[in-house]
Symmetry: C2
Subunit: 183 residues, 2 copies
C-alpha cells in the first residue's frame, strides 16, 4: 500500500497538481522509485478524496476533459507521517534478469548476450541522468535538511545503477566462454 502515500508526497511537494501533472512526475522524479500509470493515479485520487485525505480545489467545472487540481488535507498529511514512521517489512525481491541467468545456467546462454548488452546500455543512460540531476539540483555546499534527505535518495539510485552497470559488464565478460547449448 504505497501508491496513495507516493501521491500524497508528490502532492505535498507541489500542491494543486492535477492528475496529469502527477502522471508526468511519475515518469521521472518520484517515478524513479515508485512508478504508476495515469489509470492508477486517477483511481487512487478518487479513493484519497473519498477518504478525506485530499480534496479537489473548487473550480465549478463539469469534470470530464477539464483540469482538476488537488491539495492534501490535514488528515492526509497525518496519514503520510504515520505511514512514514510505521514499521514495514521489506518486500521480497523479484528480479527477472537474475532469474533469467539462473535459467540460462540450466538451458544454456544462447541468444542472451544481446539483451544483456541492451540492459547495460539502459542502466548507463539512467546513471547518466541521475548524475545530471545531482549536479543540477545538489551542487556542493550547505544543504537544508530536506535537500540532504532528497540527495540521499538520489545517491541510492546512483549507486544501484552503478552496481548494475558493473555487474552486467562482468556478466557479459563471463558469457562467451560459456556459450552454446549444453546437453
Amino acid at each position: 500500500m504505497s501508491l496513495p502515500h507516493a501521491i500524497l508526497t508528490a502532492l505535498l511537494e507541489r500542491p494543486s497538481s492535477s492528475g496529469l501533472d502527477l502522471t508526468r512526475r511519475f515518469d521521472r522524479s518520484i517515478g524513479y522509485f515508485w512508478s504508476a500509470t495515469h489509470q492508477q493515479i486517477y483511481r487512487e485520487l478518487g479513493r484519497l478524496e473519498a477518504e478525506g485525505h485530499i480534496r479537489a480545489l473548487p473550480a465549478e467545472q463539469p469534470a470530464r476533459g477539464q483540469k482538476k487540481a488537488y491539495e492534501v488535507l490535514p488528515a492526509g498529511r497525518a496519514e503520510l507521517a504515520r505511514w512514514t514512521a510505521a514499521a514495514q517489512d521489506p518486500k521480497p525481491h523479484r528480479d527477472a534478469l537474475l532469474l533469467r541467468l539462473r535459467a540460462a545456467a540450466v538451458v544454456g546462454t544462447a541468444g542472451l548476450d544481446a539483451d544483456l548488452r541492451r540492459h547495460l546500455e539502459l542502466h548507463r543512460r539512467q546513471l547518466a541522468e541521475y548524475r545530471e540531476i545531482e549536479q543540477r539540483d545538489f551542487p556542493a555546499g550547505a544543504d537544508s535538511a530536506q535537500a540532504r534527505l532528497q540527495h540521499l535518495v538520489l545517491r541510492a539510485g546512483i549507486e544501484l545503477e552503478t552496481f548494475w552497470t558493473q555487474w552486467l559488464t562482468e556478466a557479459l565478460a563471463e558469457l562467451p566462454v560459456v556459450d552454446g547449448e549444453p546437453g
Copy 2:
C-alpha cells in the same frame, strides 16, 4: 510473466519435485530473487500442466492430500530457453524505503530511525546468509559453466545487500541531525 519460468527452472534443477517441495525452495534459493507463495505455485503448476509444459508423474493417487510430483516436458524446456533469450524491458523500480525517505523530507523524520535500524539488521543477516552459501557452494577453484553462472547471480545478491547495509548506515548517520517535525 516470470513465475512460470521460475517454476520451470526450479523443476529442471530438481526434477520430480512436488508443489510443496517447490514452495520450500521459493523461500530460499530461487526465492531470493523470485518469491512466490504456495497458492501461486499450485495455480501455476495447473496452468503449466494444461499447456503441456510439465506433467504429473504417474502414481494413481486421488490427488487431495497426496504428494504429486512433476517433471518438465520438452515443450516446457523449449519455452524456458525461448524466454531466457527473448528481449525484455526492465520493470520500473518500486522501493518503499526510498519512497518513505522522500516522504520524510516533507513530513519529517520523527520515528523513522527505528525501522531503518531494523532494515539494516535484516540486510546484514541476508548478506551473512549469502556469504555462507558462497563459501559452502562456491569454494575457490575450477567451476563448471553452470556453477559460474550461479555464482554470478549469487554475487549480485551479495553486492546488493552490501549496498543496502552501507546506504542504510549512511542514512542513519544523517537522520539525527535532521530530527524533529518541520513546519
